[in-house]
Symmetry: C2
Subunit: 550 residues, 2 copies
């Protein structure tokens, strides 16, 4: 019979993070960028005090444990306060992506049955338009001062600062089961309705430990973090929580993620670490190129940049290193994994490696962090070796991986062995680094072999005249499927099919070469900026490849 | 009503650490120093395979979940394997300090009701002597090969390598409640019988996360760790677990903690991090001084040294920095806290601080790491402010702090608010750094004020002619208690009472000056090397201070 240990039975709660930050890092600044570029300066003690007041007031207004609360909000200290205020009471913070299509937003707010919606004034018009469709919302809170509150026809409309003012200062964060839900986020899949992932206090705390690990994101009290990941994206990659755990300084850029704004924040606030998707960094480098000698990049204290959301193009990794002396840490995960699952840190064997070799390692998506088991499996469910060539679907397992989507029973998203199938296709090399090669539904199945659409896209995007590229599989009478390359050229580009295929021939296996190339003005994207390949496949349904001679 | 999150219900188990290390860091070496200095080279894959075999074989021999298993062993790969093999099955590893007095060892093995004792051959004689008193032990395992097994009259005697050979390779680590006990360690208090602390899988895993945190010990896959803390001391400060979590290389020095051996390991194995009590490092510097130019300290790759167990004298912190360019991280904790509770990392405000100012910060015991709440409380149980001067007893709270001693009910060691009183007296400064000033039973209560015996001892030990110093309170008719300084001079020292008091007068408050000085040849210590002040107080019972004129 198991003997139970005699250690303290303290639940892992999000309120504990805030208490720690307020006690040990009270004066550490939380800087938010307002409209117009003005910076609001708060700190962990103030965030904690205000979050407590909001929690107290929400309780008086009837918010109960388990209730869902939506936000449509940018990255600001107020949004950060809501991360703690709502979850701390035992209710659930549902961060809604305002870039989703309005009908998707209405769907997920109704599906989550959110009772309150907090929104930034930028979204006032959107909220007014949506309100009649929101069947469960009984109160709207505008993230502003009372004097900024617009006259909108919304139930229970009040300003956020009114809630803060009306709240008590002596709110006591309740203690409850660490498996209680704390936040939720819907995946904006490319097909079907969005699905909700319901995080718990436990999963959030364990994920924070992983983010603070020296072999994780290595977040410390010495960091000043520019959070260029929207706070409506998968818990902003866990940083709002991990920063409290270690007492990091936070710079929250509001809605402004343009290269000029990011550069200004990095320089003016002395940021040491930043996180964001590749697109954001393309914008930064575009700005630096345009600004030329008028900005002094040597003034940056930036040391590390974490890139996730989609694969970091090697060109970005190189630019950060060569132009700014910044080390890029690539990370992989998804809404269903909280999100951190793999992180591309270096091993002792890479000490003193030439830059080129190091870039190759940094271009992979990284190694499984402790807490998440990561395996690749073939179509028959057999686990594949870590040999750098066996390609299969990634499955993951661990305490911050979902077990079922919201509304479904626990474990309903898992196979019999408890694995969650991610839909990402990859191989794992002998050192454990994962290399994503495709999405399982985007991979091109040619004569029994798999061709990675992503590899082909990346190769095509390496052409100096290509702005964006997509590759989809098109039915082929002999090979089942063959790749079709769809290209958006840069403005004024001089580029043709033959030249592009020659370029690719030097970079990919002969049998991977696309069977045709189509030039277009634009590619369709999801609300979160991902290529919308379902649309492309629709658009090119019935397309006949020149090589298909049957 | 609380809504339960929909994240995977995976328990935090010690076997998960080993599986992770074996999967992602299989070739990372575990190096053990054998008798005679020969090095045995294993790795995480081998440790995992052998631990599985031992676990399988122990099960066949009747070991059941919840059973206790004792070790009397040095730091080697075999001891590391037992950390995982025993706990991984659901049984409890009881690491016994072989330096305790034999009657204490018998007491704690009987109190824990250990069924099996694993022992290094160094302790064969001790074990044979103890065996008749060990009422619950039915099997002894010698940590050696079959051909090394001595003919001893011990029940069920077998060699460790026989167990490994007889074990199956397909052992499946069981899954069970993470609150199950995993290991235990007895505190060797200075009074009364030793008391057992029973760690759980959960507490151990959470503690490992804290050790791997960048603001914890910052352990990573790039580290090679010389573990100069005995593995029978409080989970070896958690390193055997944390190293698996991040895939660090381990150097286990066996029984040899002399300066010469430590230096050889640091140099030959390229260690980047080491951990040990102050005494061990005194030995290292003694060796370096004696060896002089014959050793090349610049060949070391050592970057960080973690010092705990007792306060790190500032002289050691300075020597590490100035002679070896090594950063000392002071940590504080105790058997009851797993042990990590506070760690003295630097804050951004210390960037570019002069060395002297930095040493002052490093000389404190550090800031509470997330997971452990640390407060100082006055005699009436009121929490004191972090003001750098309010001195009180430290209380701690958190998921890797004990709730009750073994054999007692849960929470029986806690007050009504769930705090555990550590018996250490300290203040906390405005930045959250804890400064231990004394043990609550050693503090000298003079006229309603507290005088720190430790501060006085440290000041006295700063005198170049003093080898060791102790201060105890002696009853005084006017002041209740006054300090008595007891000094062991260095060999051939020329030193007297007046000179020593003059020396102290420049370093401590006037009213702290000891009322008398006694010179002795030796001071009494506990089995773990701590000053045995209960003995000193007995020895000086009835001592009359010259200032006590009543």
């Amino acid at each position: 019979m198991i003997l139970t240990g005699l250690m303290q039975n303290k639940p892992l709660l999000i309120s504990g993070l805030l208490r720690h930050a307020a006690t040990y890092h009270p004066d550490v600044e939380i800087v938010s960028c307002l409209h117009g570029g003005e910076m609001r300066r708060s700190n962990w003690a103030t965030v904690a005090r205000r979050a407590g007041r909001v929690a107290a007031r929400l309780g008086e207004l009837g918010l109960a444990p388990g209730d869902r609360v939506a936000t449509l909000a940018w990255n600001t200290d107020r949004h950060l306060e809501l991360y703690y205020a709502v979850a701390g009471t035992g209710a659930v913070l549902h961060t809604v992506n305002p870039r989703l299509f309005p009908e998707q937003i209405a769907y997920i707010i109704n599906h989550a049955a959110d009772g309150i919606v907090f929104f930034d004034l930028d979204f006032a018009e959107l909220v007014v338009r949506l309100a009649p469709q929101l069947t469960t919302v009984h109160r709207f809170v505008a993230l502003c001062r009372p004097d900024q509150l617009p006259a909108l026809d919304l139930p229970g409309l009040v300003s956020y600062e009114t809630l803060v003012d009306e709240g008590r200062d002596d709110y006591d964060w309740p203690e409850f089961d660490e498996n209680a839900a704390s936040s939720m986020c819907y995946t904006s899949g490319t097909t079907g309705n969005p699905k909700g992932v319901l995080y718990s206090h436990r999963s959030t705390l364990l994920h924070s430990f992983a983010a603070c690990a020296a072999d994780g994101l290595a977040l410390t009290a010495r960091d000043c973090v520019l959070l260029a990941v929207p706070m409506f994206h998968v818990n902003a990659w866990g940083v709002p929580y991990a920063a409290a755990m270690c007492g990091a300084r936070l710079v929250l850029p509001g809605s402004g993620l343009g290269g000029d704004r990011l550069f200004a924040h990095l320089r003016d606030e002395g940021c040491t670490l930043s996180l964001g998707v590749p697109t954001v960094w393309l914008g930064l480098f575009q700005y630096l190129e345009q600004a030329g000698a008028s900005v002094d990049a040597s003034a940056l204290r930036l040391q590390r940049v974490v890139i996730g959301g989609s694969a970091a193009p090697r060109a970005i990794i190189e630019k950060f290193e060569r132009l700014l002396g910044v080390f890029v840490i690539q990370a992989w995960g998804m809404t269903e994994t909280s999100p951190l699952a793999t992180i591309a840190n270096l091993l002792p064997k890479h000490d003193g490696a030439p830059l080129e070799a190091r870039f190759a390692v940094q271009s992979r998506q990284g190694r499984a962090i402790f807490g998440v088991e990561v395996g690749v499996f073939d179509a028959d469910g057999r686990r594949l070796p870590h040999d750098g060539k066996s390609v299969g679907e990634i499955r993951v397992r661990g305490p911050w991986v979902l077990s079922g989507y919201y509304g479904n029973p626990p474990d309903s998203a898992l196979d019999d062995d408890g694995w969650f199938s991610t839909g990402d296709v990859a191989f794992i090399d002998a050192d454990g680094y994962v290399q994503i090669t495709d999405r399982s539904k985007d991979v091109i199945k040619s004569g029994g072999e798999w061709i990675s659409s992503i590899d082909l896209e990346n190769a095509a995007m390496g052409h100096p005249q290509v702005r964006e590229a997509a590759v989809i599989g098109v039915p082929h009478s002999r090979w089942q499927e063959r790749p079709l390359l769809i290209v958006v050229p840069k403005p004024d580009a001089v580029i043709d099919r033959a030249g592009l295929l020659d370029f690719l021939a030097a970079r990919v296996a002969r049998w991977w070469l696309p069977d045709d190339v189509v030039f277009v003005d634009d590619l369709p994207h999801t609300a979160t900026g991902k290529l919308l390949k379902t649309r492309l496949r629709d658009d090119f349904r019935g397309y006949r490849l020149p090589t298909d001679t049957d």
